[in-house]
């Protein structure tokens, strides 16, 4: 099944890359690329870097130094390499998702189940890959050459290696993801949980030691990556230009997130306070989710990716593409979900009206920023409803699995 799946997906992406009108338009859409993932800005940084000018001077380039090395290397190759790299990264993500699904189904196969689930076959693993590959959001994000795709690939790789029990590689890819875009640092907890629960089968090491080992590995890898970057660009300027911009939000280009409008409107004296509130809010879910759902660390990864995709400072639709890809892995939850119609509609409204309102604001001049912000709010409400719905489904199913006798009876919380 797989090649049948990958070839058309690869072909679609390459075809879209080769229509310059589409590729260039996508590369400048604020819904798809952000200041910290824009390929245009990357070429700017790369040019400065190649001209022996500090790439972070000028305040345009906000991406990790490792991209400079990677794309400088690609500059020596024919220009088709970059589209192929992006398309192959997407296909790798899809392949890993199918592998993760296979593994997850093997693990959940021996767990207690509901009566209706017995005998029913779970989702075919290749369907999960197909849902990612043919999701319009992931296609658009890939063709826009947003560098977010590498963060997404790192997250998926981390989950994959953690499931394989490869502590070192798993932690390396989390470190890579958090090195690339900062927020995935909160994924350390669920990845360690995956290693603890399922990765380290048959080992006699104490759990505490595994956790300590993983955290040390993470810190080492992260330090190594940062030091490598320092060696590459010759100064620590990149810390401020990448993580500083993500945390302190110095670039207020509109995006689909919740930050930009608030911080444009806000008086300067409140800025530090609300920065703390907003950033803390994004991270605050990591601990409770990891504690409450420690039995389902892949699900925790999904939830945290969703929370990142909504509450990070520069979100784009590429973030949504990632967590939506994790959703069908837990196909047993779909039957519990109640707001499917509403969520789907909100996504559709936002994707139709978003570009229209942007046009009214920026080009036609007959609308204003409130139009676009309103529709990003609708988009985020849709995403939040989806997460709330999935969370409800998870908790309710866990309850039903633990209390099979309660099904069909009224349950009252006292």
């Amino acid at each position: 099944m797989s090649p049948l799946l990958y070839i058309p997906a690869f072909a679609i992406r390459l075809a879209l890359f080769h229509i310059p009108a589409i590729a260039e338009t996508l590369a400048s859409r604020v819904e798809i690329v952000t200041p910290i993932t824009s390929y245009k800005r990357l070429t700017e940084g790369l040019y400065l870097f190649e001209s022996h000018v500090p790439p972070y001077d000028g305040g345009v380039f906000h991406q990790s130094p490792i991209f400079l090395a990677l794309f400088q290397l690609l500059n020596f190759l024919p220009s088709i390499t970059v589209p192929i790299l992006y398309a192959l990264t997407d296909i790798t993500i899809a392949y890993l998702l199918t592998e993760i699904t296979t593994k997850k189904q093997a693990i959940y196969g021996v767990k207690p189940k509901l009566e209706v689930e017995k005998g029913a076959k779970g989702i075919e693993p290749w369907v999960v890959g197909a849902l990612y590959l043919f999701n319009p959001l992931s296609i658009l994000s890939c063709v826009s050459k947003s560098t977010l795709i590498f963060t997404n690939a790192s997250i998926v790789l981390a989950v994959y290696y953690a499931l394989q029990g490869e502590k070192s590689l798993g932690m390396f890819w989390v470190a890579m993801a958090s090195y690339l875009s900062f927020y995935p640092a909160m994924l350390v907890a669920p990845i360690i949980l995956i290693i603890l629960n399922w990765g380290a089968n048959g080992s006699t090491i104490l759990k505490k030691d595994i956790v300590l080992h993983c955290v040390l590995l993470y810190a080492t890898w992260l330090a190594a990556l940062l030091f490598l970057s320092y060696q590459l660009v010759g100064s620590w300027d990149f810390m401020g230009a990448t993580y500083g911009v993500i945390i302190f939000l110095s670039d207020l280009t509109p995006n689909v997130g919740l930050f930009w409008y608030f911080f444009i409107e806000m008086f300067d004296q409140f800025r530090p306070f609300f920065l703390v509130v907003f950033q803390l809010h994004a991270f605050i879910f990591a601990a409770p989710l990891s504690i409450k759902l420690s039995e389902h660390p892949i699900f925790v990864t999904f939830m945290l990716c969703g929370i990142m995709g909504i509450f990070k400072s520069y979100p784009s639709i590429g973030d949504a593409a990632l967590y939506l890809a994790f959703l069908p892995i837990h196909d047993e939850l779909l039957k519990y979900m109640r707001y499917g119609f509403l969520t789907a509609n909100l996504f559709l409204y936002a994707s139709t009206l978003g570009p229209i309102f942007w046009h009214l604001w920026i080009y036609a001049g007959s609308g204003n920023a409130n139009f676009f912000y309103a529709i990003t709010l609708v988009y985020n409400i849709g995403q939040i409803l989806l997460l709330v719905d999935v969370m409800y489904a998870m908790l309710r199913r866990s309850f039903d699995v633990e209390h099979p006798e309660s099904l069909g009876k009224e349950v009252v919380q006292k």
Binding site: E44, S51, V53, S366, R396, D400
Partner: protein, 597 residues
Amino acid sequence: MPINLKPKRQPLAKRLERRARIVSLLKTWIPRLSVALYFVGLGWLLLLPHDQYNKETYVSENALLPAQINVYYGFSDINVAKEYQSKIEERLNQSSLEKARFIETELRAAGFRATIQKFSSPIPHPDDVQQGVNAFGIYHAPRSDGTESLVLSAPWVSRDGRDNINGISLLLSVARMFKRHTYWSKDIIILVTDDGLAGTQAWLDVYHGEQGSHMYPVMPRAGAIQAAVNLDFPGTSEYDSLGIFFEGVNGQLPNLDLVNTVVRVARVTSQIPVTLHDVPEAALRGVAESLGSYFASLSNMLYTMRYQALGHPTGDHGLYLRYKIDAITLYGVPATSGATFGFHRIGALIESTFRSLNNLLEHFHQSFFFYFLSDQERYVSIGMYMPPVILFACSLVFDSLVLWGSSTIPVATGSSNPEQDKDARPQVPFPYSTSRRELAPAFAVLVLAHAAGVLVFFVMRPAFTVWGETWVGDGMIHAGHPPQTHHCRPHLRFRPHRFHHPDPPGRHDPRRVQQRLACPQITQPGLRRYEHRCRQSHKLQPLHCHRPHCHPPLPRPPAHRLPVRHGRPGRLARRAQPPRPAAPRRRRVRHEYRTGR
């Protein structure tokens, strides 16, 4: 004794029964409700032309002050216009180039900086040259800093197919009169376009830096255009009412204040009967008298809706709107009988309107961009017509909810024993649903609807842009890029500058670098040239954009020169850079006023 504050819950069976009843009630009533909503919306829309439901227009932008000036357009100007009338009549059979040269010469004689613009035209010419020629001239106004301008344009051919003789005569006489006066604080562009919409589109493209395949390398400019008025006065006779056309490409409308200004000036200063579109004012009055004012309003609104739905611009003004320039076409409805008006009143109208536009402090933004005009001085705002539209949408959403609810296919239970079924039947429904949904018909409808939409789109073929080629009406104009890319920095209105624009302040400001980065040309091969070496920091500075409106890398003597060092300055030196010099005052006002020639 503990008091139980909780209300007593009804037994489960009763609650379930009630819930089932509500669901079935909703299922029966919502389809009826949605039909009712549709008709309520329709009725509401039909109420809007009634005088109770629309309001009188008002000028929202205080700076405009329409009809507050003394007009100077007088007998000598009328005589000039009449002379032009005969000169133009003689030249009607000449080629496009000769006609454009005539306009250019006349504008130059009047003191304008005039030139012609050739463009490849979709319309066949008699001499077999597929080339149209626009002529235009710029009056760099004495009190302007060259960043804002107004356009007065006229096409060679009127919208009714006749030659726009009076329109161009008026244009030239008004141009001469404008040049005599010193109160202009915006530059004035006088434009005569060839080949209908194609000429206007070609001129706008090149003015905004969309070179495309237009063969015109250099373009005199006069800053961002704030407003445009297009004159369409066919023939050589007089008119009985002034028609106003304002619908643009894809139904876009100019700011209501522009329409208000023209209408008010026409009523107060030049006392011309105004009508919407080309319906003679007398005819509208006839409808109002025989059927009631409601039907006259309804007819006006239906005309506007038709033009907007078709998406075609109703005149050359419609193309300006795509560039965020508010524009309007003034059309002379030919006289059949009764009172008429000619050059004098129209000239006064144009002069007074331009004096108002001259007062604009910034872009038109105060008044409505979405409206219906039920009468030349009454409007229906977006706040009034959106509720019925929302009702239409609600009726669809409700219906789709019911369809969603009834699209589930119940799962067949395996057993046939009713007794067993009764035992197995849960007290309350399961928290999950294993039923499937019939989605294929829904998706089929969706796909068919989209296909039909694409078909309608291509059949009507309004002016739209596909992959860098602009389609206008029935002819294709090669325009290179879609005009949306004309912004160098999308969140700011862009201002094309004059030729010798002084080096803008803050060249070293990182935000300016960012602005250039936002220019669409950066990724194009061959354009990544970074020749400019900053004299302040001895660094290569990124300057990507080679577009005419982006600032060229002009060398500027630095205000604070660091000691000359070879190679990159060290970190300390970079840190110790002196503060940036204060930006020079942006707005320069020339104090020597020219007195007429």
